[in-house]
Symmetry: C2
Subunit: 236 residues, 2 copies
DNA sequence: GTCGGTCGGTACGAAAGGGTCCGGACGCGC
DNA sequence: GCGCGTCCGGACCCTTTCGTACCGACCGAC
């Protein structure tokens, strides 16, 4: 996985004891994540859980084919495959790679087994599930109550957190899909944020200029799941 | 709890083996749920989990004081206190009684202990968490993509499922709060549904007339978490 | 029966956002 | 350096929803 002198880049795995981690590592298979790759469709049987090391994965809620929206985001602080953690092998949501990167993946069976053998590991994953619920809840809140520019600010901050890069490679089109709005609406909202000096936008690129300003622009819709994560799983 | 010849009315408890249930029953304390009672505020330490027997509880996502919206609903098919199930003692969401009823409650410590001693019990609760994630995800989807009348239809159906009564006692004001919209908007949307012959509305009362029609009106935003529940936890 | 509070119906202008189209700009491949 | 596909900017008009306000209807208390 990583060079032996550094811990794993995934923050859930990093929270494990070195001993548990060593025993687990044989089940963890390094994988590359390609942009737009679909890890699990809705209602698919989940074959692997992914511990993200770099890049970013979207959890997308789906009903009818054209009713889709992002409900959560997973970077190196998290994992996919919560259904497995919860003893089921499927979920109503899809998981789709949004920004290419790498992950350590583990088969469903091995994950179940590992949770049985390492209760501390299971405990960490369950606490992450709780944080994920907070994330989905806040998304529901933002979707219901927030204006487009506020939701956009929230989204940019969350992306920034998880990728740790001020330059986000994304098209307006894709952003519109994730936010569940019209594409030109995203263009206008980005201009608005740009006019306020919070970002710079260019073809397929958004650069974060003023993170604190973006937090203000998000008008309270950003931050709660992130604080929950730090409280519950820790800053490591 | 209930007379010995019938199982518990809560469907999660009903899924337990009679033996596990008997051993658990001493920890379960019958409680009445009063309308508008706040079981847990956001970020409170959760003292008890509630297995609902009748009535209905809302899970409300909160950020700023005036940023609130319902993200999930719990009736006798479910429970509150998912944070405890997940090994944490708090959640970013509030739980509020929406329709009076009764519940069996269990202290956090006893619930943790029971999950340790009865793995089958723990497994059921974790599968319920997975269903709840589906519910919150679909709420995020409906809030982002659905029109007011579609969301209203979804909401009425979910309420109807969980209470099993065609007459719903609720004011437009309160509905507006839960849906995160303006009160007169609810009035108009209810008239619309009424004009289509799907409901009858009166002061503080909504009667479901045509459930199938409401499902059509919900335009695909209703049903996924309910199907997940039946698949994962079973029809009992 | 009257009073006061809650609840519902309605109406207005204003804002946000959707649907659609078009044209220009950029950038990669050849 | 040409061409084509992708991406962005802007425009049009329309629907949905908001904000606010006002008033009438209902209901329980006295």
């Amino acid at each position: 996985m990583n060079s032996p002198d550094m811990g794993p880049r995934n923050r859930l795995l990093a929270a494990l004891s070195p001993r548990d981690l060593r025993r687990l590592s044989s089940s963890l298979e390094p994988t590359s994540l390609e942009a737009r790759q679909v890890l699990d469709g809705p209602h698919d049987s989940i074959k692997h859980a992914y511990f993200v090391e770099s890049g970013l994965i979207s959890v997308v809620g789906t009903a009818e084919p054209d009713h889709r929206i992002e409900v959560g985001m997973v970077g190196r602080e998290g994992m996919t495959g919560l259904g497995i953690v919860l003893g089921d092998d499927r979920s109503a949501n899809a998981t789709i790679v949004q920004s290419a990167g790498t992950a350590l993946r583990i088969s469903s069976a091995a994950l179940r087994e590992a949770m049985k053998v390492h209760p501390a590991f299971a405990a960490i994953l369950l606490r992450y599930v709780n944080v994920f619920i907070a994330q989905a809840s806040q998304t529901a809140l933002a979707n219901g109550r927030g204006r487009l520019d506020e939701r956009l600010a929230r989204w940019l901050l969350m992306w920034h957190d998880r990728l740790g890069d001020a330059d986000l490679i994304i098209t307006h089109e894709f952003l519109a899909l994730l936010l569940g709005v019209r594409r030109p609406g995203v263009t206008v909202a980005l201009h608005d944020l740009e006019g306020r000096g919070l970002i710079r936008a260019n073809r397929s690129l958004v650069r974060i200029i003023d993170r604190d300003g973006l937090q203000l622009a998000a008008n309270g819709f950003y931050g709660i799941p992130e604080a929950e994560y730090d409280r519950s799983i820790g800053l490591n």
